[in-house]
Protein backbone atom coordinates (compact mmCIF):
# COMPACT_ATOMS: atom_id res chain seq x y z
CA UNK A 1 0.00 0.00 0.00
CA UNK A 2 1.61 3.19 -1.16
CA UNK A 3 -0.77 5.75 0.20
CA UNK A 4 -0.88 5.88 3.93
CA UNK A 5 -2.94 8.64 5.48
CA UNK A 6 -1.01 10.30 8.27
CA UNK A 7 -4.18 11.46 9.91
CA UNK A 8 -5.09 7.92 10.80
CA UNK A 9 -2.17 7.57 13.17
CA UNK A 10 -3.07 10.76 14.96
CA UNK A 11 -6.70 9.85 15.41
CA UNK A 12 -6.50 6.25 16.38
CA UNK A 13 -4.96 5.41 19.71
CA UNK A 14 -2.98 2.66 18.06
CA UNK A 15 0.24 1.76 19.78
CA UNK A 16 0.04 4.67 22.16
CA UNK A 17 0.69 3.47 25.65
CA UNK A 18 -2.42 5.10 27.02
CA UNK A 19 -2.98 3.70 30.46
CA UNK A 20 -6.45 4.25 31.85
CA UNK A 21 -6.52 4.95 35.56
CA UNK A 22 -7.34 1.85 37.56
CA UNK A 23 -11.10 1.59 37.98
CA UNK A 24 -12.21 1.06 41.52
CA UNK A 25 -15.74 0.35 42.65
CA UNK A 26 -15.97 3.96 43.65
CA UNK A 27 -14.85 5.42 40.32
CA UNK A 28 -17.16 2.99 38.54
CA UNK A 29 -20.26 4.06 40.39
CA UNK A 30 -19.25 7.69 39.97
CA UNK A 31 -18.86 7.10 36.25
CA UNK A 32 -22.25 5.45 36.06
CA UNK A 33 -23.83 8.37 37.84
CA UNK A 34 -22.23 10.82 35.44
CA UNK A 35 -23.24 8.69 32.47
CA UNK A 36 -26.87 8.77 33.58
CA UNK A 37 -26.63 12.49 34.12
CA UNK A 38 -25.29 12.97 30.59
CA UNK A 39 -28.18 11.03 29.17
CA UNK A 40 -30.70 12.77 31.38
CA UNK A 41 -29.58 16.28 30.44
CA UNK A 42 -29.23 15.24 26.77
CA UNK A 43 -25.56 16.18 26.64
CA UNK A 44 -24.96 17.77 23.22
CA UNK A 45 -21.71 15.87 22.61
CA UNK A 46 -23.39 12.57 23.37
CA UNK A 47 -26.39 13.49 21.23
CA UNK A 48 -24.22 14.44 18.30
CA UNK A 49 -22.47 11.07 18.35
CA UNK A 50 -25.73 9.15 18.72
CA UNK A 51 -27.30 11.12 15.87
CA UNK A 52 -24.40 10.40 13.53
CA UNK A 53 -24.53 6.71 14.42
CA UNK A 54 -28.23 6.54 13.62
CA UNK A 55 -27.78 8.47 10.41
CA UNK A 56 -24.95 6.28 9.16
CA UNK A 57 -26.51 2.95 10.10
CA UNK A 58 -29.99 3.84 8.85
CA UNK A 59 -28.55 4.93 5.51
CA UNK A 60 -26.54 1.73 5.31
CA UNK A 61 -29.63 -0.36 6.05
CA UNK A 62 -31.69 1.45 3.41
CA UNK A 63 -28.99 1.00 0.76
CA UNK A 64 -28.29 -2.63 1.66
CA UNK A 65 -31.98 -3.52 1.87
CA UNK A 66 -32.79 -2.05 -1.54
CA UNK A 67 -30.04 -4.17 -3.10
CA UNK A 68 -30.13 -7.30 -0.97
CA UNK A 69 -33.87 -8.02 -0.86
CA UNK A 70 -34.37 -8.31 -4.62
CA UNK A 71 -31.05 -10.14 -4.89
CA UNK A 72 -31.97 -12.66 -2.21
CA UNK A 73 -35.46 -13.14 -3.63
CA UNK A 74 -34.14 -13.67 -7.16
CA UNK A 75 -31.60 -16.16 -5.85
CA UNK A 76 -34.43 -18.08 -4.22
CA UNK A 77 -36.64 -18.32 -7.28
CA UNK A 78 -34.38 -18.20 -10.35
CA UNK A 79 -32.68 -21.33 -11.66
CA UNK A 80 -29.24 -20.99 -13.20
CA UNK A 81 -25.92 -22.75 -13.13
CA UNK A 82 -23.74 -21.93 -10.17
CA UNK A 83 -26.66 -20.88 -8.02
CA UNK A 84 -25.86 -23.35 -5.27
CA UNK A 85 -22.26 -22.21 -5.16
CA UNK A 86 -23.44 -18.61 -4.89
CA UNK A 87 -25.73 -19.54 -2.00
CA UNK A 88 -22.87 -21.25 -0.17
CA UNK A 89 -20.64 -18.20 -0.64
CA UNK A 90 -23.41 -15.89 0.52
CA UNK A 91 -23.98 -17.96 3.65
CA UNK A 92 -20.26 -18.01 4.35
CA UNK A 93 -20.19 -14.22 4.09
CA UNK A 94 -22.66 -14.06 6.97
CA UNK A 95 -19.76 -14.44 9.36
CA UNK A 96 -17.68 -11.79 7.65
CA UNK A 97 -15.52 -9.99 10.25
CA UNK A 98 -16.24 -6.28 10.29
CA UNK A 99 -12.57 -5.34 10.26
CA UNK A 100 -12.05 -7.29 7.06
CA UNK A 101 -14.92 -5.42 5.42
CA UNK A 102 -13.42 -2.21 6.71
CA UNK A 103 -10.03 -3.08 5.25
CA UNK A 104 -11.54 -4.01 1.87
CA UNK A 105 -13.58 -0.81 1.64
CA UNK A 106 -10.55 1.17 2.84
CA UNK A 107 -8.47 -0.25 -0.01
CA UNK A 108 -11.23 0.52 -2.51
CA UNK A 109 -11.61 4.10 -1.36
CA UNK A 110 -7.99 4.96 -0.60
CA UNK A 111 -6.42 7.40 -3.00
CA UNK A 112 -4.62 4.67 -4.94
CA UNK A 113 -7.68 2.41 -4.93
CA UNK A 114 -10.19 2.00 -7.77
CA UNK A 115 -12.69 4.36 -6.13
CA UNK A 116 -10.07 6.72 -4.72
CA UNK A 117 -11.19 9.49 -7.07
CA UNK A 118 -14.40 9.85 -5.09
CA UNK A 119 -12.38 11.22 -2.20
CA UNK A 120 -14.80 9.94 0.44
CA UNK A 121 -12.43 8.01 2.69
CA UNK A 122 -12.77 9.24 6.29
CA UNK A 123 -16.24 10.65 5.66
CA UNK A 124 -19.65 9.37 6.82
CA UNK A 125 -20.29 8.26 3.22
CA UNK A 126 -17.44 5.77 3.48
CA UNK A 127 -18.90 4.47 6.73
CA UNK A 128 -22.30 4.00 5.08
CA UNK A 129 -20.64 2.00 2.30
CA UNK A 130 -18.70 -0.16 4.74
CA UNK A 131 -21.75 -0.98 6.87
CA UNK A 132 -23.88 -1.61 3.79
CA UNK A 133 -21.28 -4.08 2.51
CA UNK A 134 -21.17 -5.68 5.94
CA UNK A 135 -24.91 -6.31 6.21
CA UNK A 136 -25.67 -7.04 2.54
CA UNK A 137 -24.89 -10.77 2.94
CA UNK A 138 -26.98 -10.93 6.11
CA UNK A 139 -30.09 -9.48 4.47
CA UNK A 140 -29.62 -11.35 1.19
CA UNK A 141 -28.98 -14.75 2.80
CA UNK A 142 -31.88 -14.56 5.26
CA UNK A 143 -34.26 -13.16 2.63
CA UNK A 144 -33.27 -15.91 0.22
CA UNK A 145 -33.97 -18.52 2.86
CA UNK A 146 -37.42 -17.26 3.74
CA UNK A 147 -38.44 -16.63 0.12
CA UNK A 148 -37.20 -20.10 -0.88
CA UNK A 149 -39.22 -21.75 1.89
CA UNK A 150 -42.34 -19.85 0.96
CA UNK A 151 -41.84 -20.49 -2.74
CA UNK A 152 -41.62 -24.24 -2.18
CA UNK A 153 -44.97 -24.05 -0.48
CA UNK A 154 -46.70 -21.63 -2.87
CA UNK A 155 -45.29 -22.36 -6.32
CA UNK A 156 -47.82 -24.94 -7.43
CA UNK A 157 -50.83 -23.09 -6.08
CA UNK A 158 -49.74 -19.84 -7.72
CA UNK A 159 -49.11 -21.61 -11.04
CA UNK A 160 -52.46 -23.33 -10.71
CA UNK A 161 -54.20 -19.98 -10.28
CA UNK A 162 -52.36 -18.67 -13.31
CA UNK A 163 -50.35 -16.02 -11.43
CA UNK A 164 -47.47 -14.65 -13.51
CA UNK A 165 -44.02 -13.83 -12.12
CA UNK A 166 -45.01 -10.31 -11.07
CA UNK A 167 -48.20 -11.29 -9.24
CA UNK A 168 -46.35 -14.20 -7.62
CA UNK A 169 -43.53 -11.95 -6.44
CA UNK A 170 -45.94 -9.47 -4.87
CA UNK A 171 -47.95 -12.22 -3.20
CA UNK A 172 -44.76 -13.69 -1.76
CA UNK A 173 -43.38 -10.37 -0.52
CA UNK A 174 -46.72 -9.49 1.03
CA UNK A 175 -46.91 -12.81 2.86
CA UNK A 176 -43.33 -12.53 4.08
CA UNK A 177 -43.56 -8.91 5.17
CA UNK A 178 -43.14 -9.65 8.87
CA UNK A 179 -40.12 -11.89 8.53
CA UNK A 180 -38.51 -9.48 6.07
CA UNK A 181 -38.92 -6.58 8.50
CA UNK A 182 -37.41 -8.77 11.22
CA UNK A 183 -34.42 -9.43 8.97
CA UNK A 184 -33.93 -5.73 8.31
CA UNK A 185 -34.10 -4.97 12.04
CA UNK A 186 -31.43 -7.59 12.72
CA UNK A 187 -29.25 -6.04 10.02
CA UNK A 188 -29.66 -2.60 11.56
CA UNK A 189 -28.63 -4.05 14.91
CA UNK A 190 -25.49 -5.52 13.43
CA UNK A 191 -24.63 -2.27 11.62
CA UNK A 192 -25.02 0.07 14.57
CA UNK A 193 -23.14 -2.21 16.98
CA UNK A 194 -20.22 -2.79 14.65
CA UNK A 195 -16.91 -1.05 15.38
CA UNK A 196 -14.13 -2.42 13.17
CA UNK A 197 -15.33 -1.26 9.77
CA UNK A 198 -16.34 2.29 10.68
CA UNK A 199 -13.14 2.73 12.65
CA UNK A 200 -11.02 1.92 9.62
CA UNK A 201 -12.90 3.80 6.90
CA UNK A 202 -14.25 6.62 9.06
CA UNK A 203 -11.16 7.33 11.09
CA UNK A 204 -13.10 8.24 14.25
CA UNK A 205 -12.69 11.96 13.62
CA UNK A 206 -14.14 14.00 16.43
CA UNK A 207 -17.36 15.72 15.41
CA UNK A 208 -17.26 14.28 11.90
CA UNK A 209 -17.00 10.51 11.77
CA UNK A 210 -17.11 9.58 15.43
CA UNK A 211 -19.97 7.17 16.10
CA UNK A 212 -21.05 5.40 19.28
CA UNK A 213 -18.90 2.31 18.97
CA UNK A 214 -15.69 4.08 17.96
CA UNK A 215 -16.26 6.71 20.61
CA UNK A 216 -16.70 4.03 23.25
CA UNK A 217 -13.46 2.36 22.19
CA UNK A 218 -11.57 5.65 22.27
CA UNK A 219 -13.04 7.07 25.48
CA UNK A 220 -12.49 3.81 27.32
CA UNK A 221 -8.83 3.71 26.35
CA UNK A 222 -8.47 7.36 27.37
CA UNK A 223 -10.13 6.61 30.68
CA UNK A 224 -13.14 8.90 30.08
CA UNK A 225 -15.59 6.38 31.43
CA UNK A 226 -18.74 8.51 31.78
CA UNK A 227 -19.04 9.29 28.04
CA UNK A 228 -18.14 5.70 27.13
CA UNK A 229 -20.69 4.33 29.58
CA UNK A 230 -23.37 6.79 28.51
CA UNK A 231 -22.92 5.81 24.88
CA UNK A 232 -22.82 2.16 25.86
CA UNK A 233 -26.16 2.49 27.62
CA UNK A 234 -27.74 4.23 24.63
CA UNK A 235 -26.38 1.55 22.29
CA UNK A 236 -27.69 -1.18 24.55
CA UNK A 237 -31.11 0.47 24.64
CA UNK A 238 -31.21 0.71 20.83
CA UNK A 239 -30.22 -2.92 20.33
CA UNK A 240 -32.70 -4.02 22.98
CA UNK A 241 -35.47 -1.99 21.36
CA UNK A 242 -34.69 -3.56 17.98
CA UNK A 243 -34.97 -7.04 19.42
CA UNK A 244 -38.17 -6.27 21.26
CA UNK A 245 -39.55 -4.84 18.02
CA UNK A 246 -38.57 -7.95 16.09
CA UNK A 247 -40.10 -10.18 18.73
CA UNK A 248 -43.38 -8.28 18.81
CA UNK A 249 -43.50 -8.39 15.03
CA UNK A 250 -43.15 -12.17 15.05
CA UNK A 251 -45.79 -12.55 17.77
CA UNK A 252 -48.22 -10.38 15.87
CA UNK A 253 -47.63 -12.26 12.65
CA UNK A 254 -48.18 -15.60 14.38
CA UNK A 255 -51.32 -14.46 16.10
CA UNK A 256 -52.93 -12.85 13.08
CA UNK A 257 -51.76 -14.94 10.23
CA UNK A 258 -50.75 -18.37 11.47
Amino acid sequence: MRHRPRSLCKILPIGQPLRPPPATVNTLSLAFGEAWAMIARADPKLLEIVALSLRVSLSAVVVATLLALPFGAALAVARFRGRDALVVVLNALLGLPAVVVGLAVYLLLSRAGPLGALGILFTPAAMVIAQAVLIFPLIAALARQSVADAWREYAEQLHSLGAGPLASAFALLHDLRFSLVTIVLAAFGRAIAEVGAVMIVGGNIDGFTRVMTTAIALETSKGDLPLALGLGLVLLAIVLALNVGAHLMKERAQRHHG
Binding site: Q157, S160, L161, G162, A163, G164, A171, H257, G258
Partner: protein
Protein backbone atom coordinates in the same frame (compact mmCIF):
# COMPACT_ATOMS: atom_id res chain seq x y z
CA UNK B 1 -56.92 -16.96 -31.66
CA UNK B 2 -59.08 -19.12 -29.43
CA UNK B 3 -61.24 -17.02 -27.16
CA UNK B 4 -60.94 -17.40 -23.43
CA UNK B 5 -64.13 -19.42 -23.11
CA UNK B 6 -63.37 -21.95 -25.84
CA UNK B 7 -63.88 -25.53 -24.66
CA UNK B 8 -60.77 -27.14 -23.19
CA UNK B 9 -62.02 -30.68 -23.42
CA UNK B 10 -61.47 -33.28 -24.60
CA UNK B 11 -57.98 -33.73 -23.22
CA UNK B 12 -55.88 -36.33 -24.97
CA UNK B 13 -52.72 -37.89 -23.53
CA UNK B 14 -50.67 -39.99 -25.90
CA UNK B 15 -47.99 -42.30 -24.61
CA UNK B 16 -47.26 -39.90 -21.75
CA UNK B 17 -44.39 -40.81 -19.47
CA UNK B 18 -42.65 -39.15 -16.54
CA UNK B 19 -39.23 -40.05 -15.21
CA UNK B 20 -37.23 -38.32 -12.50
CA UNK B 21 -34.01 -39.18 -10.75
CA UNK B 22 -33.50 -42.24 -12.94
CA UNK B 23 -36.89 -43.66 -11.92
CA UNK B 24 -39.85 -44.16 -14.21
CA UNK B 25 -42.89 -42.82 -12.42
CA UNK B 26 -45.39 -42.91 -15.29
CA UNK B 27 -45.13 -44.81 -18.56
CA UNK B 28 -47.24 -45.24 -21.67
CA UNK B 29 -50.29 -43.32 -20.49
CA UNK B 30 -52.94 -43.13 -23.23
CA UNK B 31 -55.97 -41.31 -22.02
CA UNK B 32 -58.87 -39.29 -23.31
CA UNK B 33 -60.76 -37.12 -20.83
CA UNK B 34 -64.21 -36.15 -22.11
CA UNK B 35 -66.55 -33.54 -20.69
CA UNK B 36 -69.40 -34.85 -18.59
CA UNK B 37 -68.85 -37.92 -16.41
CA UNK B 38 -67.04 -37.48 -13.12
CA UNK B 39 -63.69 -39.23 -13.35
CA UNK B 40 -62.32 -40.68 -10.14
CA UNK B 41 -58.71 -41.84 -9.99
CA UNK B 42 -57.82 -44.52 -7.46
CA UNK B 43 -54.80 -46.72 -6.86
CA UNK B 44 -52.18 -47.61 -4.28
CA UNK B 45 -49.82 -45.11 -2.63
CA UNK B 46 -46.98 -44.09 -4.89
CA UNK B 47 -48.73 -45.37 -8.03
CA UNK B 48 -48.33 -42.00 -9.74
CA UNK B 49 -51.84 -40.56 -9.40
CA UNK B 50 -50.74 -37.15 -8.17
CA UNK B 51 -47.99 -36.90 -10.78
CA UNK B 52 -50.53 -37.75 -13.48
CA UNK B 53 -52.88 -35.05 -12.22
CA UNK B 54 -50.09 -32.48 -12.02
CA UNK B 55 -49.16 -33.28 -15.61
CA UNK B 56 -52.76 -32.87 -16.75
CA UNK B 57 -53.06 -29.56 -14.89
CA UNK B 58 -49.81 -28.28 -16.37
CA UNK B 59 -47.75 -28.18 -13.16
CA UNK B 60 -45.33 -30.82 -14.42
CA UNK B 61 -44.19 -31.36 -17.98
CA UNK B 62 -44.24 -34.97 -19.16
CA UNK B 63 -40.77 -36.27 -20.00
CA UNK B 64 -42.17 -38.22 -22.96
CA UNK B 65 -45.37 -38.34 -25.00
CA UNK B 66 -47.82 -35.56 -25.71
CA UNK B 67 -50.74 -33.89 -24.00
CA UNK B 68 -53.33 -31.97 -26.01
CA UNK B 69 -56.33 -29.92 -24.97
CA UNK B 70 -58.97 -29.18 -27.62
CA UNK B 71 -58.35 -25.44 -27.21
CA UNK B 72 -55.26 -25.04 -25.08
CA UNK B 73 -54.80 -22.27 -22.55
CA UNK B 74 -52.36 -19.55 -23.43
CA UNK B 75 -49.88 -17.68 -21.32
CA UNK B 76 -51.35 -14.51 -19.87
CA UNK B 77 -54.96 -15.62 -20.34
CA UNK B 78 -57.07 -16.51 -17.33
CA UNK B 79 -56.99 -20.23 -16.63
CA UNK B 80 -59.98 -22.34 -17.58
CA UNK B 81 -59.09 -25.17 -15.22
CA UNK B 82 -58.46 -25.24 -11.48
CA UNK B 83 -57.04 -27.61 -8.93
CA UNK B 84 -57.65 -28.28 -5.24
CA UNK B 85 -54.67 -29.81 -3.47
CA UNK B 86 -54.62 -32.30 -0.64
CA UNK B 87 -53.19 -29.64 1.62
CA UNK B 88 -54.76 -26.31 0.71
CA UNK B 89 -52.30 -23.48 0.16
CA UNK B 90 -53.72 -20.19 1.40
CA UNK B 91 -52.08 -16.78 1.46
CA UNK B 92 -51.41 -14.94 4.71
CA UNK B 93 -54.36 -12.64 4.37
CA UNK B 94 -58.04 -12.71 5.15
CA UNK B 95 -60.40 -15.35 3.82
CA UNK B 96 -61.93 -12.72 1.54
CA UNK B 97 -58.47 -11.47 0.57
CA UNK B 98 -57.53 -14.91 -0.70
CA UNK B 99 -60.50 -14.96 -3.02
CA UNK B 100 -59.92 -11.38 -4.19
CA UNK B 101 -56.33 -12.27 -5.06
CA UNK B 102 -57.45 -15.24 -7.16
CA UNK B 103 -60.02 -13.09 -8.97
CA UNK B 104 -57.45 -10.37 -9.64
CA UNK B 105 -55.04 -12.93 -11.09
CA UNK B 106 -57.89 -14.29 -13.22
CA UNK B 107 -58.38 -10.81 -14.67
CA UNK B 108 -61.82 -10.17 -13.17
CA UNK B 109 -62.55 -6.44 -13.11
CA UNK B 110 -62.07 -4.92 -9.69
CA UNK B 111 -65.63 -3.71 -9.09
CA UNK B 112 -66.98 -7.23 -9.66
CA UNK B 113 -64.57 -9.03 -7.38
CA UNK B 114 -65.98 -8.49 -3.93
CA UNK B 115 -69.56 -9.49 -4.76
CA UNK B 116 -68.34 -12.61 -6.50
CA UNK B 117 -66.01 -13.54 -3.65
CA UNK B 118 -68.70 -13.06 -1.00
CA UNK B 119 -71.19 -15.12 -2.98
CA UNK B 120 -68.61 -17.91 -3.25
CA UNK B 121 -68.07 -17.84 0.53
CA UNK B 122 -71.78 -17.95 1.24
CA UNK B 123 -72.20 -21.01 -0.92
CA UNK B 124 -69.72 -23.03 1.15
CA UNK B 125 -71.04 -21.67 4.45
CA UNK B 126 -68.03 -19.45 5.12
CA UNK B 127 -69.91 -16.15 4.75
CA UNK B 128 -69.23 -15.06 8.32
CA UNK B 129 -65.51 -15.95 8.02
CA UNK B 130 -64.74 -13.31 5.40
CA UNK B 131 -62.51 -11.15 7.59
CA UNK B 132 -60.69 -13.91 9.47
CA UNK B 133 -57.09 -14.71 8.63
CA UNK B 134 -57.25 -17.69 6.27
CA UNK B 135 -54.30 -19.52 7.79
CA UNK B 136 -55.90 -19.99 11.18
CA UNK B 137 -59.01 -21.76 9.86
CA UNK B 138 -59.39 -25.45 10.68
CA UNK B 139 -58.33 -28.03 8.11
CA UNK B 140 -61.89 -28.62 6.95
CA UNK B 141 -62.63 -24.90 6.72
CA UNK B 142 -59.42 -24.31 4.76
CA UNK B 143 -60.38 -27.05 2.34
CA UNK B 144 -63.84 -25.56 1.90
CA UNK B 145 -62.21 -22.21 1.23
CA UNK B 146 -59.89 -23.76 -1.35
CA UNK B 147 -62.93 -25.32 -2.99
CA UNK B 148 -64.81 -22.02 -2.92
CA UNK B 149 -61.81 -20.37 -4.56
CA UNK B 150 -61.68 -22.98 -7.29
CA UNK B 151 -65.43 -22.89 -7.95
CA UNK B 152 -65.55 -19.09 -7.98
CA UNK B 153 -63.18 -19.10 -10.96
CA UNK B 154 -65.82 -21.07 -12.93
CA UNK B 155 -63.35 -23.52 -14.40
CA UNK B 156 -64.32 -25.90 -17.19
CA UNK B 157 -62.29 -28.63 -15.52
CA UNK B 158 -61.68 -29.02 -11.80
CA UNK B 159 -58.92 -31.35 -10.56
CA UNK B 160 -59.06 -32.50 -6.94
CA UNK B 161 -56.21 -34.42 -5.28
CA UNK B 162 -57.59 -36.19 -2.20
CA UNK B 163 -59.62 -33.18 -1.10
CA UNK B 164 -61.03 -34.96 1.95
CA UNK B 165 -57.95 -36.71 3.27
CA UNK B 166 -57.62 -35.81 6.99
CA UNK B 167 -61.19 -34.52 7.25
CA UNK B 168 -63.81 -35.88 9.62
CA UNK B 169 -66.93 -37.54 8.17
CA UNK B 170 -69.06 -34.41 8.52
CA UNK B 171 -66.52 -32.20 6.77
CA UNK B 172 -66.06 -34.90 4.14
CA UNK B 173 -69.79 -34.85 3.36
CA UNK B 174 -69.75 -31.08 3.09
CA UNK B 175 -66.89 -31.20 0.60
CA UNK B 176 -68.64 -33.93 -1.34
CA UNK B 177 -71.83 -31.95 -1.66
CA UNK B 178 -69.90 -28.92 -2.89
CA UNK B 179 -68.12 -31.09 -5.47
CA UNK B 180 -71.48 -32.46 -6.52
CA UNK B 181 -72.90 -28.98 -7.04
CA UNK B 182 -69.83 -27.96 -9.03
CA UNK B 183 -70.46 -30.97 -11.24
CA UNK B 184 -74.11 -29.98 -11.58
CA UNK B 185 -73.05 -26.54 -12.79
CA UNK B 186 -71.35 -28.19 -15.76
CA UNK B 187 -67.72 -28.37 -14.60
CA UNK B 188 -65.81 -31.54 -15.44
CA UNK B 189 -64.63 -33.22 -12.22
CA UNK B 190 -61.41 -35.23 -12.07
CA UNK B 191 -60.69 -36.41 -8.54
CA UNK B 192 -58.18 -38.62 -6.74
CA UNK B 193 -59.36 -40.39 -3.61
CA UNK B 194 -58.44 -43.25 -1.32
CA UNK B 195 -61.95 -43.32 0.07
CA UNK B 196 -63.72 -46.02 -1.91
CA UNK B 197 -67.13 -45.07 -0.53
CA UNK B 198 -66.48 -41.58 -1.85
CA UNK B 199 -65.39 -42.99 -5.21
CA UNK B 200 -68.76 -44.74 -5.44
CA UNK B 201 -70.77 -41.76 -4.28
CA UNK B 202 -69.08 -39.18 -6.49
CA UNK B 203 -67.68 -41.15 -9.41
CA UNK B 204 -69.16 -41.98 -12.78
CA UNK B 205 -66.05 -43.66 -14.10
CA UNK B 206 -62.98 -45.06 -12.37
CA UNK B 207 -59.40 -44.75 -13.55
CA UNK B 208 -57.34 -47.33 -11.70
CA UNK B 209 -53.64 -46.41 -11.64
CA UNK B 210 -51.09 -48.99 -10.62
CA UNK B 211 -47.28 -48.74 -10.76
CA UNK B 212 -47.22 -45.84 -13.18
CA UNK B 213 -49.78 -47.23 -15.63
CA UNK B 214 -53.48 -47.02 -16.14
CA UNK B 215 -54.38 -50.57 -15.28
CA UNK B 216 -58.10 -50.28 -15.73
CA UNK B 217 -60.79 -47.85 -16.71
CA UNK B 218 -64.47 -48.61 -16.38
CA UNK B 219 -67.71 -47.20 -15.06
CA UNK B 220 -68.04 -47.17 -11.34
CA UNK B 221 -70.57 -49.96 -10.82
CA UNK B 222 -68.76 -52.43 -12.99
CA UNK B 223 -65.41 -51.59 -11.44
CA UNK B 224 -66.54 -52.31 -7.92
CA UNK B 225 -68.60 -55.38 -8.83
CA UNK B 226 -66.35 -57.02 -11.40
CA UNK B 227 -62.88 -55.50 -11.58
CA UNK B 228 -61.37 -56.63 -14.87
CA UNK B 229 -57.77 -56.91 -13.71
CA UNK B 230 -56.18 -58.96 -10.99
CA UNK B 231 -54.44 -55.84 -9.66
CA UNK B 232 -57.69 -53.95 -9.20
CA UNK B 233 -59.24 -57.01 -7.61
CA UNK B 234 -56.37 -57.30 -5.13
CA UNK B 235 -56.50 -53.56 -4.45
CA UNK B 236 -60.21 -53.69 -3.68
CA UNK B 237 -59.79 -56.74 -1.47
CA UNK B 238 -56.95 -55.07 0.41
CA UNK B 239 -58.97 -51.93 0.90
CA UNK B 240 -62.19 -53.70 1.75
CA UNK B 241 -61.28 -56.92 3.57
CA UNK B 242 -64.96 -57.59 4.44
CA UNK B 243 -65.95 -58.03 0.81
Amino acid sequence: MADASAPLLPLVLENVGFAAGGRTILAGIDLRIEPGPRTVIIGPNGAGKSVLMRIMHGLLAPTSGTLRWANPERRGEPRRQAMVFQRPVLLRRSVLGNLLFALAVAGVRSHEREARARAALDRVGLGTFADRPARVLSGGEQQRLALARARMLRPQVLFLDEPTANLDPGATREIESVVQSIHDSGTKIVMITHNLGQARRLGDEILFVDRGRIAERSDVDRFFRHPATAEADAFLKGELPWH
